[in-house]
Amino acid sequence: MSGLGALIKKELKEQLKTYRFLIIAIVLLIFGLMTPLMLKYLPEILKIAGEDIIIDIPPATAVQALTEYADTIAQMGVLIVVLVTMGAISREIDKGTAAMVLSKPVSREAFILAKLFTLSTSFVVALVLASIACYVYTVILLGEADITAFIALNGLLILFFIVAISVTLLLSSVFKSQLAAGGLALVFFVGQAVIANLPKIGEYMPSGLVSWGTGLLTGDTASAWGAVRMSLAIIIACLYLTWLRMRNKEL
């Protein structure tokens, strides 16, 4: 895997210098903080705003906050994955930097894996920050929650994001247009979310990772190993296809 180390270093620097990492971290953090805050204070904010309707909803719970956090972060996370990944390969081919780098003793596998690795790393770091922020706020505002279940939930979210990164990376190696790659990646995620509601095949969709995670919070014991296996299969398949695409790519 020639050149992997140098490429990873370059990708990490690029994430920082082009604000990619900042975007990922801040957006996830914002939603991490916002979810428990909104659950707790939305009724009161409405009151301050002078709405005279009497809102009669039961007080929010910690489990509710963490569940909502998982759903929001999964959606926003995929959106951010798509935004920061959709040009990752096509832009380098288009600008000619891929030709510059790949004329050096660098394997094309390393070129792809460096991107997958650094993007995944960014999301891991950002999710750790966001989940800590969310958990602290939830405990302060709404009370205790099962921390082990919450950690497991975040682990499943990471896997979900890596699926998103792999899919978008593949599309960015196929389509010259960033918007085409991004659009199709979103179609893929909306599509799998719809299918996830169907009986039988539904439980194999990557979205099953998120529902398994939120289930853990409420003590639901139904596991979704099918979704885990499917997710790993998608990641490997996408990497393989990206490699096939890049292997003979004329630069």
Binding site: S103, K104, N248, E250
Partner: protein, 313 residues
């Protein structure tokens, strides 16, 4: 020994044959000029030789290794400057060079040493810590040359190395290329003939994907040495041109501007007869002769003739 060897390289882009059965060999430690008009197949050839593109048929060897897309070891022995070098604009010049050094597996110390040397050499020392995004085209070209030679390559491929440079920069780069040939074989493509005349030991001329000829510079000049007479007159030499049309040994006669004065250039097929007969014809025309000179053909003359000949298919 040959540093570069191609056998029957053919490349097709959809219906267009970009390269048609190219056979070529380049001697070690020589500077090979690859000449041709735009779109002739020069960039295609270089991309095949550095392994960024794969041929439809044919084989090629560089520095003793056969080129395949997986021949990663070979790439540490070659240097490549693309036609339009691309960089990560968020990096500084120094960061980019260090990055390329790392890709070549140079040690930290070695990378730093080479970066310092090269930034000095291509005169980017002051701009080394500025973002490449703010570099001019000439600076980018010079950075491109620096990254191509950071690994002290055995074979160096330069695709139009002088295209973005001003006359002074161009001269400096050509001198640099000349110096490099002591330790490396240089394969440079260009459409600028004077550059080739200035530095190359041998040339290949390509047009529409077909190699028209290869030879050493001297041989080329000798082989196509239709000597050229340059005559300068007071006033228009058109009547003389008309009377020259009748002589059998004439290849071409035309009036051209040279340094602001009108000069009649006469290319001939039979140099000895021309030497004997031309003065008489000139005298008979009644024009006042200012200058009479026999010169060697420039590469441009040869080039135009070869391309014109090859083009008429």
């Amino acid at each position: 020994m040959e540093a570069i060897k191609c056998e029957g390289l053919t490349k097709r882009y959809r219906d267009i044959i970009a390269l048609d059965n190219l056979d070529l060999s380049v001697e070690e430690h020589s500077i090979f000029g690859f000449l041709g008009p735009n779109g002739a197949g020069k960039t295609t050839t270089i991309k095949l030789l550095v392994g960024l593109s794969a041929p439809l048929t044919g084989k090629a060897w560089v520095a003793g290794h056969e080129i395949t897309s997986g021949a990663i070891g070979l790439r540490s022995k070659i240097g490549y400057l693309p036609e339009v070098p691309a960089f990560y604009n968020w990096m500084t010049g120094l960061e980019f060079l260090s990055f390329i050094g790392e890709l070549h597996h140079l040690s930290k110390v070695e990378t730093k040493k080479r970066c310092d040397e090269l930034l000095e050499l291509v005169e980017l020392k002051e701009a080394a810590k500025r973002r490449i995004g703010g570099y001019s085209r000439g600076m980018r070209q010079r950075l491109g040359i620096a990254q191509a030679i950071i690994n002290k390559p055995e074979v160096l491929f330069l695709d139009e190395p002088c295209s973005a440079l001003d006359p002074i920069g161009r001269r400096e780069v050509l001198e640099l290329i000349k110096r490099l040939s002591a330790g490396a074989t240089v394969f440079m493509s260009t459409h600028i003939l004077s550059d080739v005349e200035r530095v190359c030991d041998s040339v290949g001329i390509i047009d529409r994907g077909k190699l028209i000829t290869t030879s050493s510079m001297e041989e080329l000049q000798r082989k196509y040495a239709r000597s050229v007479f340059e005559l300068e007159f007071e006033g228009d030499a058109a009547p003389l041109v008309a009377s020259l049309r009748a002589v059998p040994w004439l290849a071409k006669a035309e009036q051209v501007e040279v340094n602001g004065s009108l000069t009649l250039r006469i290319q001939v097929r039979d140099i000895n007869t021309a030497k004997r007969e031309l003065p008489g014809i000139t005298a008979a025309s009644g024009l006042t002769l200012l200058r009479y000179e026999l010169t060697l053909p420039s590469l441009e003359d040869i080039f135009v003739e070869l391309i014109a000949g090859g083009g008429k298919r």
